[in-house]
Amino acid sequence: LILLDLLTRLAATLLHAVLVFALAPLLLGLVNKLRAWMLGRRGAPLTQPYRNLLRLLRKATLVPVTATQLFPLWPVAGFLSISITAMLVPSFTTGLLTAPASDFITIIGLFSLARAATMLGGLETGFGFGGAGAQREALFGVFAEAALLAVVLSFVLLAHGATVDGIANTFRAGHIGISVSLGFTLAALLAVALTETSRIPIDNPSGHLELAMVHEAMLLEYSGRSLLLLEYTAMLRLMVWMSLIGTIFLPFGMGRADAPLSWLGGLALWAGKLGLMAAALSVFEISSAKMRVFRVPEFLGVALLLGVLASVFLFVAARIGS
C-alpha cells in the first residue's frame, strides 16, 4: 500500500513537472494575447512563444570575442535554478514528492542564484548596456529580497511551517480566515513578483530601447541556444510565480497527490487560477506605465513596509487574542 501511495505521488510529481515545463510558453502567449485584445489589437497567436523557441533552437549560437569561456554557462545556471523551483512549487496538488524540500527560504535562494547568473551574463561581454542592466537588477534585488523575507515571516507565523506545501495545506484547511495581514502580504508579494518576472511597471518585457531595459539588456549579446534558455527561463519564472501566488492565496480545491481522483478538480482550478492571474496581469500592465529606475526602490520599499506591517498586525492580534 505504501508502494502504491509512493507510485501515485510519483505520477503526480511527474505530471506536475511535465505540465509546468510544457505550459510555461503558453502562459506567456496568453498574457500577450490578452494584453493585445485589451489594447484593441488582434495579437500574436497563443503558440507564438513556442515558435520563437523553436526558431532559436535552429539558429547558430554566437559567442562574442570579448566574452570569456564561461559565457554559455550563465544561461544554463539560471535555467537550472529556476527549473528546480518549478519542480518545488506545487501547481495542482499538494503532497508532491518534492514537498519536503520546498522550504520558502530555499526557493528565495534559488531565485537569487538565477538572478546572479543573469547579472554575470550581462557583465560577461563587457559592454555598457549589459552592465547597466546588471547594476539595476542588483538594486532591485536588494529591496525585493528584503520584502520577500518579511512576507515569508507572516506566512510562517500563520502556518507554523516554512515549506510552501505545508503553508498551502494549512491555508486550505481554512481556519485562518481572511485577515488584514493576508491582504498586505498579497500586495507585497505581487510587487515582488512583478520585479522578479520583470514586468511593467518595473521593466518592460517588450521594450526595444536599450537605455530603459533591465532584464532584456542583460540578454542582448546572447543568441541561439543560450538565448533560448534565457527566454525559456523568463517564461518558466512567470509560471513559477503565478503558481506560487495561486498555491498560497487560493489553495482551496487543490488536489492531493495520493488521491488521483482529486487531480482533475485541481487541474481545472489551476488552469482557472492561471487564466485569472494572466488577465489581472494584462489589465495591470495596460493601465500603468513603466517607472523611472530610482522610483522602483520606493515601490519595493512600500512592499517591504506592507510585509513588516502584516507581521506586526499578527503580533497585535496574538496579543489581543491571548
Binding site: L57, A67, L80, A101, D103, A147, L149
Partner: protein, 554 residues
C-alpha cells in the same frame, strides 16, 4: 573529547594548563586548514607567521586565564608586526584597538560571572572580531599584510575572538546569563551585517572589499550567537540549538571560503600589480584556474544555494523567524525588522560577489596589466585548491557537518536536542540534473550544434580603433559605476556623509578630535612660562581656600 595537559612553562609555580573539549576541537579544525594554506601560499619562512599561528592555537587550547591571555596577546602582537610590515598607518590604529581589547578582556575574564564581566568580554572580544561599532579597523588592517596573513587574520583571528566570546558567554558566565546579553549581540551583529555588506558593495579595492565582507560574516555569526544566548536564558533550548548551529556552521564555512578569496586576491596582485577592481577585468581568460577557484569562493560569500554559504544563512533565517514567533511584542517587531535587514544584506552580499566576479574576472580588460595576466603560481593555487576541496562537503553535505557539530551544541546548551537540517542540496542537485538531462536531450536531438566566435554586437557601435585592442575601457561599467545605483539608494541613509564608515565618522572621529584637543591643552600647560605657572598655583590655592571657607561657613 575531554583531555587536560599541564605544560611546565609560564607563570612561576603554576605552569600553563591546556584543555581540549568539543568547542576548542571545532575551532582548531576551523583554524588548521587556514594555517596550512597560508604556509603553503608563501608564509612558511616567516617566524612571525608561526608565532601568530602558535598564539591562536594557544588561545584555543588554554585551560586557565593566564594561558588564554598569553596566547591572545601573542596573536595580537605577531599580527601587529605582520601588519606593520605591510603598511604603517593602519598598524597604529590596529595596535590601539588591540590594546583596548586587552584592557577590556583581562579584567573581564578575571571577574566572577556577572553582567559587567559579560559586557567587558563582549567589548574585548568584539573589538578583536570586528563587531560594530568597533569594526572599522578591520577593512584597514586586514588588507595591509601579504595575502597569506590576510587570509589567516580574516578567517582565523576573528574566529579566535569569537571563540572566547562563546566560551565565556555560554559556559563560564552561564549561571548569571540574562536575555539582554543576547539582544546586545544581535544589535551589534545586525549593525555589522548591514554596514559590512553595504561597504563590501561600494569598495573598489579587492582586499578591502573582502575585509568588509568579513565584517558582515562576523555580524551573521554574532546574530546566531545572540539568538542562541537569548533563547538559552529564556529557557528555549530548541531555538538556542538552531541559533548555535547557524553561528557555528557560518564560522566553519567562512573559515574556508574567505581565506580562499584572500589568497586569490594576493595572486591577482602578483599577476597584475593592482587589486583595484577598476583596473582589472577579463582575468578569467588569462587565469582560468584562479578564476574558477575565486568563483567558488564568491558563491560562498554570496550565500547562494548549492554553495558553502547557503546552509548557515538558511539556519540563521530560520532561527530569526523562530525568535520572532514567540516572546514580547516589542522583541517580535524587532526580530521582524531584523529579518528584513538580513534580506537586504543578503542581496547586497550577492551583488558584491557578482561585482567581484563580473567586474574583475569577466568582461574586457581595463588595463594592459590585466590583459597580460598569466595564471597564478603553483603553491598558492595548491593552497586555494585545498580550501576549495574542503568547501565541497560543507556545500553539498551540510547535514553531515551540522551532525558533527552536535557535541559542541550539547556542550554549550546541555538541554538542547539539535534537529536535522531541512535543506538538502543533494536532492536539489538531483532535480537540477534531471532538468539538465531533459534540456540536453532536446538540444542534442533537435538543436544546431557548435558555436561561432564573432565581434560583440555592443548596441551596434563600430569596432574599436587598432590602438585599443580590447576596446575603450570606459565603455564598460567600472566597479564604482556598478555600485552607483545601490550607493545612491542606500548609502545616504546607512553610511556617514561622503560614504565614510559610520563608526569612523561618529565614534572614532570625535574620539580622535577629543584626543587632539587634550594634547593641545597639555602642550600649552607644558610650555607655560614661570609667571603663568606661579599664577596657576596661586589661583588654585585661592580657589581651594575659598572652597574651604565656604564649606566651613555653610
Amino acid at each position: 573529547v575531554n583531555n587536560s595537559f599541564a605544560v611546565l612553562a609560564g607563570l612561576p609555580g603554576q605552569g600553563m594548563h591546556l584543555h581540549l573539549d568539543a568547542l576548542s576541537v571545532l575551532f582548531l579544525c576551523i583554524l588548521l586548514p587556514q594555517i596550512v594554506a597560508g604556509a603553503v601560499a608563501g608564509m612558511r619562512g616567516s617566524a612571525t607567521y608561526w608565532a601568530f599561528a602558535l598564539g591562536m592555537v594557544l588561545a584555543l587550547l588554554a585551560a586557565d586565564a593566564f594561558t588564554l591571555i598569553f596566547g591572545f596577546e601573542l596573536m595580537s602582537a605577531a599580527s601587529w608586526l605582520l601588519v606593520l610590515r605591510g603598511d604603517q598607518k593602519p598598524a597604529t590604529f590596529y595596535v590601539g584597538i588591540a590594546a583596548f581589547s586587552a584592557a577590556c578582556l583581562i579584567p573581564g575574564i578575571f571577574l566572577p560571572a556577572s553582567s559587567i564581566a559579560f559586557v567587558l568580554v563582549a567589548l574585548g572580544a568584539g573589538a578583536k572580531a570586528g563587531l560594530a561599532p568597533l569594526h572599522s579597523w578591520l577593512p584597514r588592517a586586514h588588507p595591509a599584510p601579504p595575502a597569506g596573513v590576510s587570509a589567516l587574520m580574516s578567517g582565523g583571528m576573528v574566529k579566535v575572538a569569537l571563540y572566547i566570546l562563546i566560551r565565556y558567554a555560554f559556559i563560564t558566565f552561564a549561571p548569571a546569563a540574562q536575555p539582554w546579553w543576547g539582544e546586545v549581540l544581535v544589535a551589534a551583529g545586525i549593525a555589522s551585517v548591514v554596514i559590512g555588506s553595504l561597504r563590501a558593495m561600494l569598495e573598489t579595492e579587492l582586499k578591502t572589499m573582502l575585509a568588509c565582507s568579513t565584517v558582515e560574516h562576523v555580524g551573521l555569526i554574532a546574530i546566531g550567537l545572540g539568538v542562541a544566548l537569548r533563547a538559552k536564558a529564556m529557557g528555549d533550548p530548541a531555538l538556542a540549538a538552531l541559533g548555535l548551529q547557524a553561528a557555528l556552521l557560518c564560522a566553519v564555512a567562512h573559515g574556508l571560503f574567505k581565506p580562499l578569496l584572500f589568497l586569490g586576491a594576493g595572486e591577482v596582485k602578483h599577476a597584475t600589480g593592482t587589486t583595484s577592481l577598476n583596473w582589472l577585468g577579463g582575468l578569467m581568460r588569462g587565469m582560468p584556474r584562479l578564476g574558477g577557484l575565486m568563483l567558488l569562493g564568491a558563491v560562498g560569500m554570496a550565500g547562494l544555494p548549492l554553495g558553502p554559504g547557503f546552509a548557515p544563512e538558511f539556519l540563521l533565517l530560520h532561527a530569526v523567524i523562530g525568535a520572532a514567533g514567540a516572546g514580547g511584542i516589542l522583541a517580535r517587531i524587532g526580530f521582524t525588522a531584523l529579518l528584513a535587514a538580513l534580506g537586504l544584506s543578503a542581496a547586497l552580499a550577492l551583488a558584491a560577489a557578482v561585482r567581484l566576479i563580473g567586474i574583475g574576472f569577466l568582461g574586457r580588460p581595463r588595463s594592459l596589466h590585466a590583459a597580460a595576466a598569466e595564471d597564478a603560481r603553483l603553491a598558492p593555487l595548491a593552497a586555494m585548491a585545498l580550501l576549495a576541496v574542503l568547501c565541497v562537503p560543507v556545500a553539498l553535505l551540510p547535514g553531515m557537518v551540522t551532525g558533527a557539530l552536535t557535541p559542541v551544541v550539547m556542550l554549550l546548551v546541555p538541554q538542547a536536542d539539535p534537529l536535522p537540517l531541512a535543506y538538502a542540496p543533494l536532492s536539489l542537485a538531483l532535480l537540477a540534473g534531471l532538468a539538465a538531462l531533459a534540456a540536453g536531450f532536446i538540444f542534442h536531438r533537435w538543436g544546431v550544434r557548435g558555436t561561432r566566435e564573432v565581434p560583440a554586437w555592443t548596441g551596434g557601435f563600430g569596432r574599436p580603433p587598432a590602438w585599443l585592442p580590447f576596446g575603450d575601457p570606459h565603455t564598460q561599467p567600472s566597479a564604482t559605476g556598478f555600485a552607483e545605483p545601490v550607493s545612491r539608494a542606500l548609502a545616504r541613509g546607512v553610511l556617514a556623509p561622503g560614504g565614510a564608515d559610520p563608526s569612523e565618522a561618529f565614534f572614532f572621529g570625535p574620539l580622535f578630535r577629543l584626543h587632539m584637543r587634550c594634547v593641545r591643552v597639555a602642550e600649552r600647560l607644558r610650555r607655560a612660562t614661570i609667571r603663568q605657572r606661579l599664577a596657576f598655583v596661586f589661583a588654585a590655592l585661592v580657589a581651594f581656600l575659598l572652597a574651604l571657607g565656604l564649606g566651613e561657613g555653610g
